[in-house]
Symmetry: C5
Subunit: 304 residues, 5 copies
Amino acid sequence: MIVRPQQHWLRLIFVWHGSVLSKIFSRLFLNFLLSIAVIIMLPWYTSLGIRLTVAPFSILGVAIAIFLGFRNNACYSRYVEARQLWGQLMIASRSLFREVKNTLPDDPALGEFVRLQIAFAHCLRMTLRRQPQADQLAAYLSAEHLRVAMDSSSPANRILLIMGEWLAVRRREGQLSDILFHSLNIRLNDMSIVLAGCERIANTPVPFAYTLILHRTVYLFCIMLPFALVSDLHYMTPFVSVLISYTFISLDTLAEELEEPFGTENNDLPLDAICNAMEIDLLQMNDESVIPTRKLPDKYYQLT
Amino acid sequence: MIVRPQQHWLRLIFVWHGSVLSKIFSRLFLNFLLSIAVIIMLPWYTSLGIRLTVAPFSILGVAIAIFLGFRNNACYSRYVEARQLWGQLMIASRSLFREVKNTLPDDPALGEFVRLQIAFAHCLRMTLRRQPQADQLAAYLSAEHLRVAMDSSSPANRILLIMGEWLAVRRREGQLSDILFHSLNIRLNDMSIVLAGCERIANTPVPFAYTLILHRTVYLFCIMLPFALVSDLHYMTPFVSVLISYTFISLDTLAEELEEPFGTENNDLPLDAICNAMEIDLLQMNDESVIPTRKLPDKYYQLT
Amino acid sequence: MIVRPQQHWLRLIFVWHGSVLSKIFSRLFLNFLLSIAVIIMLPWYTSLGIRLTVAPFSILGVAIAIFLGFRNNACYSRYVEARQLWGQLMIASRSLFREVKNTLPDDPALGEFVRLQIAFAHCLRMTLRRQPQADQLAAYLSAEHLRVAMDSSSPANRILLIMGEWLAVRRREGQLSDILFHSLNIRLNDMSIVLAGCERIANTPVPFAYTLILHRTVYLFCIMLPFALVSDLHYMTPFVSVLISYTFISLDTLAEELEEPFGTENNDLPLDAICNAMEIDLLQMNDESVIPTRKLPDKYYQLT
Amino acid sequence: MIVRPQQHWLRLIFVWHGSVLSKIFSRLFLNFLLSIAVIIMLPWYTSLGIRLTVAPFSILGVAIAIFLGFRNNACYSRYVEARQLWGQLMIASRSLFREVKNTLPDDPALGEFVRLQIAFAHCLRMTLRRQPQADQLAAYLSAEHLRVAMDSSSPANRILLIMGEWLAVRRREGQLSDILFHSLNIRLNDMSIVLAGCERIANTPVPFAYTLILHRTVYLFCIMLPFALVSDLHYMTPFVSVLISYTFISLDTLAEELEEPFGTENNDLPLDAICNAMEIDLLQMNDESVIPTRKLPDKYYQLT
Amino acid sequence: MIVRPQQHWLRLIFVWHGSVLSKIFSRLFLNFLLSIAVIIMLPWYTSLGIRLTVAPFSILGVAIAIFLGFRNNACYSRYVEARQLWGQLMIASRSLFREVKNTLPDDPALGEFVRLQIAFAHCLRMTLRRQPQADQLAAYLSAEHLRVAMDSSSPANRILLIMGEWLAVRRREGQLSDILFHSLNIRLNDMSIVLAGCERIANTPVPFAYTLILHRTVYLFCIMLPFALVSDLHYMTPFVSVLISYTFISLDTLAEELEEPFGTENNDLPLDAICNAMEIDLLQMNDESVIPTRKLPDKYYQLT
C-alpha cells in the first residue's frame, strides 16, 4: 500500500513509482508505434477500401467503460472487504484479550494466551501470502502447539482450537463461568469469521470470464482505435490514442491488482504493518516490557 | 470455477477454454455472415430507400450497456452472496465443532457429531445441484438418521434437527448447561441461515422479464448493427460488428451463467472443493487418522 | 414468479407470456402508428420550418437510461429485500421450532405451537396481499386465538404475542429456564423483523415523484423520437423507433411491477409457494402424518 | 409521502400535485422564454461569431447525468435508511413490549410502560421535525417524567433512560432475573440505535459541495442548452430545451427533497402515520379499550 | 461540515465559501487562459496539420465521467462509514452508561466512569486528527490513568481496557453478575468496533493508483479540451471549456476531500461538535450540574 501525503495537482501528473504506469508502459508504447504505422499506411489501405470511423467506436467505448466500471467495482469491493476483515481481526483480538485479562487478571499464563493471538494473526497473513510459517511462528508458540498447528492443513484454524482449549481448561477448573466462556467464544467465532472470509477472497477470484472478456475487448478496442481516429486527427492520432488507451488499460490493470488484495504489489494491503500494529497493541495491553518497533513506509511511501 | 494463474496480457486474448466464447461462437459467426450479406445487398436495399445510420444505435447501445451493467450487477451479486453463504457454513461448522469439542472433550460420540456436520454440507451441495444423495450420505450418517433425512422433503434441515437433538440429549443428561446449549444453538441457527439462503438463491431467479428484455434487445441490436455500420465502414463492417456483438453477447451470456451459481458450468462455484476442504478441516480438528485428499484444479484450471 | 428453464437464445426472442410485452403492446403499437404518420407528414411540417435531429435526443436518451437504471436498481432492491425477508422467516421458523422441539420434546401442545407458526406465515402473506384471512386461519388457530387476532389491526403481530405467551406459560411452569426463554424470544424477534420489514415495503413506495418524472420523460422521449429519427432513417423509422421505445418502456414497466413485490403479477414473489414449503417443513419436523402437497409452477412456468 | 394507486400511463403524464413540477415550473418557464429569445437573437449573435454546437454539450450532459445519478443515489439512500430506522423502531417497540408483557403479565404499571414507549416515538418524531413537544408528550408521560425529559437536551434519550430505570427497579425487586433484564436491555439498545441513526441523518447532510457543484452545473447547462440546440432545431428549440431541462432539474430538485427525509414535503416520510400505527399496535397489545383511529391519506393521496 | 439552510436555487449558483471553487479557481483560470491562447494560435497550428475534433473526446469524457463516478462513490462511502461509526459511538456510549447507571445506581464512582467514556471519545477524535491529547484528556482522567494511556501507542484502546477493569472490579466485588458483566462487555466491544473502524479509514486510503489515474486523465483531458472545441465553438471555447473542466475538476477535488473524512476541511466531519454533543448527553444522564454549552456553526455555516 502506498501512503503518499497530499501533493500539488501538477506534480501528481508526473508521478511514476506506485502508479500502474510502469507496468503498462510497454503496451502504451506499442500503441504509440501502431498509431504512427497507421498514419504512414493510411493512403495505402484507404485505397483498398478499408475505412473506420469514430462513431461505432463511441458505442463500443462507452459500453466497455460501463463494464470496466462494473469490474472495477467488483475488484475494489474485494479489496475493501479484505481490509475490513483485518480490521475485524483487530477488534476481536483486542476485545478477546481485554475480556480475558479483566476476567482472569492474575492468570500466570496470560503471556501464553496473548502469543497465541499474535501467532494467529501472523499465521493468517503468511497463509494468505503463501509464505513458509514455521520459523516465524516458533517465536510465539510452544513446540507442542507449533507441531500440531503445522500438521494441520489449516494452521490458523488449529490455533483457534488451541485458544478454545486454553479457555475450556479454565472453565473446567471453575475459573470461568459458563456465561463468560460463552462470551469469549463469541470472540473466537469473530476470529473464525475473519479467517474464513480471507480464505474465501483468496480462493475465489472474480469469475475468470469477466477478466477475460474485458481484457480482450479493452485490448482489441485499443488496437483498432488508431485506425478509427486517424482520418479525423491525422498527426494527433498517436497522442489521443495513447491517452484513451491509458485510461482503459490502466483501470483494467489496477482492477487486476486489487482483485488479489493479499499480494505484495504496490496497491495491496499492508498485512505486515497491520500484524505489527496488532502485536504492539496486544503486548502493551499485557504490560510487557519488550515491544517491537512500529513499521513505517519506505522512501517510496510503500508499506508492505 | 476457473483458477487461472496470472498470465501475459497478450496470451489472454487467445484463451479459448473457460471463456464463454465457446458457447457464443455460433452466434458471432452468424453475425459475421449477416454482415457480409449486408455488404453484398447494400446497393439493392438502398435503392428501395432503406437506410440506417449509427446515431440512433448509439442511443440504443448506451441504454443497453447501462441496463446490461445493471443485470450483470444483479447476477454477480447472487454469485457473491452464494459464495459468502458457503463461507459462513465453513465458519459455523468450525465454530460449532470447536465449541462442542472444547465443552465435551471426552464424549465418545464426537465422531458421530462431526460426521453429522459433514453430512449437512454434502447434503446441501447435492440438494442445490439436484443430485441423488442417499449413497454419498450413507458414508456419514447412521442407517436410522439416513432414513429419516431421506424421508423429509428437506433433508439438510432434518440433519440440523438431528444435530439439535444430539445436543439436547446432552443437555437433559446435565453435560451441557442451558447457556452452552443456547450458545451451540446459535451456531445451528447460522447453518440454518446458510441453508435457507442457498435455497432462496436456487429457487428465486432474477425476474424472468429482465432476462427476457435484455436478451431480446441485445440480439435485435446485434442483428440490426451491420445495417447501421455498413454505410460508414463498408468492408470493415463484419469485424467491427462482431467485436461489438461479442462485447454485448458475452456479458449477457456470462450474467446468465452467474445467475445460477450452484451449477457445474465453467464459472460456477466449486462446491465439491469447498465440501472437501470442510471435511478435511473438521476431521483434522477431531484428530482423526484417515483424512481425504485435497481436491485440485484439473489441467484446464477447472475446480468443480 | 416465472421459473422458466434455460432455453435456446433464439426462442427467447419470441416469448410472449411472462414478458411485460403483453402489457405494453398497445403503447408500442401507438408508437408504430405515430412513426408512420410522421413519415407521411414529413414534407408538410418541414415546410413549416419544424425539424428535429438525433443529437439532442442522444443526450436525453443517455440521461434517461442512467436515471432509469437508478430507478430499476431501487425497485429491484425492494424485490430482493422482500425475498430475503421471507427467507429469514423460513430461517426463524425452522430454528424456533427446532429449539422448541429439542427443549420440550414431550410437550403435548407442540402441534398447537407449530400451527401458530404456520398461521403467522399465512397471515403475513394475506395481509400483504390484502386478502380476507379468517377462513384460512381457522384451519390453524383455535377459535379464541382467531378471534383475538382478527380483532387486532395487525393480526400477524398478535399471533406473535400469542406465541410469546405460549412460551411464557412454560417459563412460569418451570419447563423453560430464563436463558432458553431468552433464546426463543430472539427467534420471535427475528419474526417481528420480517413482519415490520414487509409492512415497510408494502406501505412505503419508492417516492412517487421518481415514478412520475421517469414515466413522463420516457413517454415524451418516445413520442418525440420518430420526429428525430425520420430525417435519417425515413422508411426504417417505425422499426428503430419501436425497438428503442421497447427498451425504455419495458424497463420502466418492469420496475413498476417489481416495486410492489407482494402482488400477484407475473414477476412478483411466489408467496403461496413459500408458505406452502414452510408449512410442509414445519409439519415434517413435528413428524406429523398429514402433509400438504408441494405447489408446482403451472404450464406457463408461473408460481404464485 | 404520496400513496397514489396505480394509474393509466397516459394519465400519469398530466399529474400535477405531488410531482416536483409545481416547484420548478417557474424555472422551466424561464428556460422556455430564454429559448424564444435565443431564436430571435440568433442572426444577431452569429454575426458576432458566437456559435455553439450540440457535441460538447453531449459530453457535459452525460457527465452531469452520471454525477446526478450518483447524488440521487446518495440522497435516496438516506431516505431508505431513515425509513428502515423507523421500521426498526416498530420492531423494537413491539418486541420490547411483548417480552415485558409475557414476563410481567400482572404488573399494574404495564400501562405506564407502554406509554413511555409511545412517548419515545412521538418525541423522536417531533425532535426530528423541530416541533414543540411538551404538550403532546404530556398525554403519555407523568408530570415528573415530562419535566426531566424536557430539561434534557435530548429528551428521547432521557425517556430511554427512564424506561431502563423502570426495568431496573423490577430487577432489584426480584421480578426480573439478570438474564431477562439483559434481554430487555438489548431492545432498549435497538431503540438507541434508531435514535442516534435518525439524529445522524438529520444533522449530517450530504456534503454541501456536492449539492453546490451539481446545482451549478445543472443550471449552467440548462441555460446554455438553447444556444447549442438552436442551430439544429430552430423553432423546436424551446420544446426540446424544456424537456431536457425538466429531466435534469426535476431530478436535482427531488434529490434535494429526499436528502432531508424527516421534513413535511410531498416526498418525505409519513412520520405522523408511522407513530399513529405504532401507538395503535402497542395499545392493542396491552388490550386497552380506547384506541386512536388510523391516519389515512388525504384526497391528494398525501400522508404526513 | 457546512450546514447551510435551504436557499433559492439562483443564489446557490453564486456561493463561494464552502464550495471547492476557491481551491480550484487557479486551475480553471489557467484553463481559461489556455483556451484563449488556443483561439489565437489556431491558424498557426492548423497550418502545421494539427487538428483535434470533439468525437474522440466524447469517448474519453464519458469514460472519465464513469470512472470519476466510481471514485466519488468510493470516497463518499468512506465519509458515510466514518459518520456511521461516530453514530455508533454515540449509541454505544449512551447504552453503556444507561446500563451501568441502571445496574449500579448508587455507585459513588459513576462520575469517574462517565468521564472515562468522554475521554475515550475525545481521545479518538484527537488521535484521528493527529492532535496532542494530554492536556485535554487531563480534564477527564485521573493522573494515573492519563499516564498509562499516554504511554500506550493506542491511548483510546488503553482507555477501553481501563473501563473494562472498572467493571471487572465490580464483578469481583459481587456487584455485577456474570451476565450483566457480559452485557456491558458487548458495549465495550461496540466501542472497540468504532475505534478500529476509524483507524482503518484513517490509515488505509483509497488505492493510490486510483487517485493518480483519475487525476492524470482528468487534467490531460481538460488541457486537450480547448484544442478539440475550438474548431466548433471558436470564441465560445473558453466558456464551454471552463464549464466542462469545472464539472470534472471539482468532483475530482471533492472526492479527494471526502477520502479523508477526519480532517478539518470544509467538507469533513464535525468531530468537535459530535464529541461535544456526546459529552453533554452523558453528563446530563448522570444528572450533573455543570454542562458545557453546545457548539454551533459559525457565520459561514461551518461546524468543525
